[in-house]
């Protein structure tokens, strides 16, 4: 430790205890702010799923719908708890150890994850008036992906990554002793996977899409990055698998819960009878490719020649597409059949304003070609390679 003459008195390391004196965190001392950001991450995700169901079922909304409240509650909890944490870490005399465990941001100190969460909260706030103006200028956007919604999504994703980083620093500082931190990291990663799957819904979400090229190209671009990153950063053997299980589990629970609530459309034209909340589409069976990714990440040596990561990424890209094809090809056909039209799978439930027709039971888009799978593997390779960089860095995050 070499204090510099220009160090901020608030962050000067002379007041910090030596690193050795910081006891590795265990299972029992997860601080409140970690729980707060995990709650925030969950609240936002559930709010988004709820809100999409709301628009597909009821249609009409206001700022004050419970789904919106869940989203904004998540943003507020993340922003306020991390803001408080940063102020306390920077200024409180008793927080010297925390200052040592933080990073500097415009003269303030706090964990990196807190800064990412604060950034996410601010992005969510910015998206509000932007989205409002957008509705006035171009009409209400009844789509997930629009420029202001993307700003909101960036804020949400930042909060989820911030939550992951805050859990990670505990996992990485525990020397592998905190299994709770490993579980929480898988949970936080699962929240991020749900967000990414939700953002990609219009391209991959419905079973009808899951035999065309777009499904494989988009899936290969989105998912390997996050599964490889989670797998590489987790101290558990099954980081990606656990995150995929969280994604699937929570989505299925939301399918079950939403269907229990009676609702009716309040916008027209109403093209089909809808009497309960329309659930999200059944989740992709991502637990299977995630299992393959965990296997590859644990099996293939991380160190060695410079080519190692590229080889691992290539293997992941091919394996992801192959396994996804193997499971989703048949499962999507099941979801379009009568066997899935029940409470458990929640299939064949559509927006109030969609005109009923045979399209509900058909595969959409042009048939899948081998060339599309090759391109998907290549995209999967690039996605996995970025995931390896990200995961390698996350595996070393201490603050």
């Amino acid at each position: 430790m070499t204090p510099t003459a220009t160090a901020d008195p608030l962050t000067t390391p002379s007041s910090e205890p030596p690193a050795e004196s910081v006891a590795p965190p265990g299972d029992r001392d997860v601080p409140w702010y970690v729980w707060a950001v995990l709650f925030a991450s969950t609240s936002v995700v559930l709010g988004v799923i709820w809100d999409i169901s709301w628009h597909r079922t009821i249609g009409r909304d206001t700022f004050w719908t419970p789904a919106h409240m869940a989203i904004y509650l998540g943003g507020a909890v993340a922003g306020l708890s991390c803001g408080w944490l940063v102020l306390r870490t920077t200024f409180a005399a008793v927080a010297a150890a925390d200052r040592a465990a933080g990073v500097t941001f415009w003269g303030f100190r706090g964990p990196l994850g807190a800064w990412v969460c604060i950034w996410g909260s601010l992005a969510m706030i910015v998206s509000g008036p932007f989205d409002d103006w957008w509705h006035s200028a171009y009409g209400l956007d009844v789509e997930i992906l629009s420029p202001p919604h993307t700003v909101l999504a960036a804020g949400i994703i930042a909060i989820q990554i911030g939550a992951m980083l805050m859990v990670l620093s505990r996992q990485n500082n525990s020397g592998g002793h905190s299994r709770l931190a490993q579980h929480l990291f898988a949970y936080a990663g699962g929240m991020l996977i749900i967000s990414m799957a939700t953002l990609a819904t219009e391209y991959v979400g419905f079973a009808n899409m899951q035999r065309n090229a777009q499904f494989y190209l988009v899936s290969a671009g989105v998912f390997p990055l996050f599964f490889v990153g989670t797998s590489r950063a987790s101290l558990s053997r099954w980081g990606a698998t656990s995150a995929a299980a969280v994604y699937m589990g929570l989505t299925i629970v939301m399918i079950w819960i939403l269907q229990l609530f009676a609702a009716e459309p309040l916008l027209g034209p109403i093209m089909r009878p809808v009497d309960s909340m329309v659930p999200p589409a059944f989740p992709l069976l991502l637990i299977v490719p995630a299992l393959a990714i965990d296997g590859l990440i644990r099996t293939l040596p991380a160190q060695g020649s410079r080519l190692r990561p590229w080889i691992t990424a290539g293997a992941v890209g091919v394996a992801f597409v192959a396994v996804l094809l193997a499971v989703q090809w048949y499962f999507s056909a099941f979801l379009l059949g009568e066997g899935a039209r029940n409470f458990l799978f929640g299939a064949d439930q559509w927006d109030y304003n969609s005109v009923p027709g045979p399209w509900q039971y058909e595969f959409w888009g042009s048939p899948l070609r081998a060339s599309a799978l090759a391109w998907a593997s290549l995209i999967g390779f690039a996605s996995a390679r970025i995931g390896l960089w990200w995961g390698d860095w996350m595996s070393r995050v201490r603050r």
């Binding site: 990073v103 103006w133 171009y138």
Partner: protein
């Protein structure tokens, strides 16, 4: 240039206003009966779709508060596919006035179904509207500056996060970054900035694409070409719909309104001093022709109202030059639609206030109340007197007691109205037919195209009145047509609507 996109596009908005059905405003005004209730309904359209339409319903002479509900129904979904009724809220301080908001989610032909319940039972009425994207809102300067500032703040914040992530986040608590790590952090800050800038640039390009697609989708009436040429039986005006969309047959067919497939208005550019209301006939589904009336040569604005079987109405707009040689070289046409009418009038600004002397010696008087105000509910009422001052006895002209056209001097507004309002009566009848039995009160018999006169007007048949809202400030000319002793007479009144 980029700021221009944020701040500008007033021009695009102007074009959109010119190009709307019922040129200049798609707002709908209706006055008539809902069962036993005399109602005036104003639907202010949102201008963007999906968007919120503002509905106001005035129930005349109610003895006790009524329950007023409104529902939007799309032409192909009907009441069965309409959302549950919204209860309009009583406007405090205004007896009998109720207001509500309705979401119109898709473009096309809609009808607002208004229901009134009170001491006189229940009455309903359909008010047809045309839902189209008409404009794109500009971003005001404060909003633009705030947004740019927020994005810059987030941008710098993101760069700082990248730097902190590389500089310190991987160090054990308490350890200071060395010079190498600080250098790498500086590089990461810059690279992070480049990455975020690239994302922002992509977002900007995306926004530009969405904006361009939206502006391309702003409603424009079908493109037409027109000409006045000499014919064997006199000068003939032809109007040809040559819009690829029309030729592509992506539309429901036209249906007659007052027995005519097209109601065409001609307004002479020079001083708005000549006016005609004629009814071209269709040679095929794209060409319409009519004998050009005996009016002076010059440039004429054409406004041609058509309505499709879906109830979708639009006003085709064009300008045609009528050469003096074409008129002088042709015989006078005799074969005309008996409902065609025309008049040579004083130039804009040359009228004598609120009284207009009709060629027959009668007088039409504008019973102007308060000065017309921008975007405010206004009743335009006119009284017709015989030369001796006695009330004139008006006859129905194409089923209505009167026809009026309101135009702004630059042509950016042109609205054809009846005492029942600005709504298209054929479209209203279409919705009533489609929903027969859907409500009590039997809809608005008063406003059916085949009805002789509106009962509300029958009691005082020397007075005609039109519910209206001036959609923009500026100089307006109002043409009012009435039929007396089998002759259609046209009066004009000029008015200046000030900025609010």
């Amino acid at each position: 240039m980029r700021l221009h996109r944020l701040f500008g596009l007033a021009f695009a908005v102007g074009v959109a206003l010119v190009a709307s059905a019922h040129v200049g405003s798609t707002n709908a005004y209706f006055e008539g009966m809902a069962g036993s209730y005399s109602v005036r309904v104003i639907v202010r359209m949102p201008g963007v779709i999906p968007g919120l339409a503002q509905i106001s319903v005035r129930v005349a002479g109610e003895s006790a508060p009524s329950v007023v509900t409104v529902r939007p129904l799309r032409w192909d979904a009907g009441l069965e596919g309409a959302p549950p009724p919204d209860t309009a809220q009583a406007v405090s301080g205004e007896q009998g006035l109720y207001s509500a908001e309705l979401w119109l989610m898709t473009a096309g032909s809609y009808s607002v179904h208004v229901s009134v319940s009170g001491t006189e039972g229940e009455g309903t009425v359909f008010v047809p509207v045309t839902a189209v994207a008409e404009r794109r809102l500009d971003m005001n300067r404060a909003m633009a500056v705030g947004l740019i500032g927020a994005v810059l703040f987030l941008f710098v914040g993101a760069m700082t996060v990248f730097g902190a992530a590389v500089r310190e986040s991987v160090l054990p608590p308490g350890e200071q970054p060395d010079a190498k790590r600080r250098r790498r952090a500086a590089i990461a800050t810059v690279l992070g900035g480049v990455l975020v800038a690239a994302i922002l640039w992509g977002g900007w390009a995306w926004w530009g694409g969405v904006d361009a697609a939206y502006r391309a989708g702003i409603f424009r009436p079908l493109a037409v070409t027109s000409a006045v040429e000499s014919g064997e039986a006199g000068p003939v005006l032809t109007l040809h719909i040559d819009d690829p969309e029309w030729l592509g047959r992506g539309w429901t067919p036209l249906m007659p309104d007052h027995g005519k497939l097209m109601h065409m208005f001609l307004v002479r550019d020079d001083g708005l001093g000549a006016f005609a209301h004629v009814h071209p006939v269709s040679a095929d589904s794209t060409s319409f022709s009519v004998a050009f009336p005996p009016l002076p040569s010059g440039s004429y604005r054409i406004y041609a109202d058509i309505v499709q079987e879906s109830g979708f109405t639009q006003t085709l707009v064009d300008t045609v030059m009528v050469a003096a040689a074409t008129l002088s070289g042709s015989p006078v046409a005799n074969d005309r639609d008996p409902d065609d009418s025309w008049a040579v009038l004083p130039a804009h600004g040359q009228t004598a206030g609120e009284r207009f002397a009709l060629p027959s010696g009668r007088t039409m008087t504008w019973e102007a109340g308060a000065q017309p105000r921008l975007d405010a509910e206004t009743m335009l009422a006119f009284r017709v007197s015989e030369a001796d001052g006695m009330p004139a006895s008006l006859e129905p002209y194409m089923g209505m007691l009167s026809h009026a056209a309101v135009t702004r001097d630059d042509g950016s507004v042109f609205i054809h109205m009846h005492p029942a309002g600005s709504i298209n009566l054929a479209a209203q009848a279409r919705f009533e037919r489609a929903e027969q039995g859907a409500g009590q009160g039997g809809g608005s018999a008063a406003s059916r195209p085949d009805a002789a006169v509106a009962p509300a007007d029958a009691a005082a048949s020397d007075v005609v009145s039109f519910p209206f809202v001036f959609p923009a400030s500026g100089a307006y000319r109002i043409f009012v047509q009435v039929k007396i002793d089998g002759v259609v007479e046209t009066a004009v009144f000029d008015v200046e609507v000030p900025e609010d």
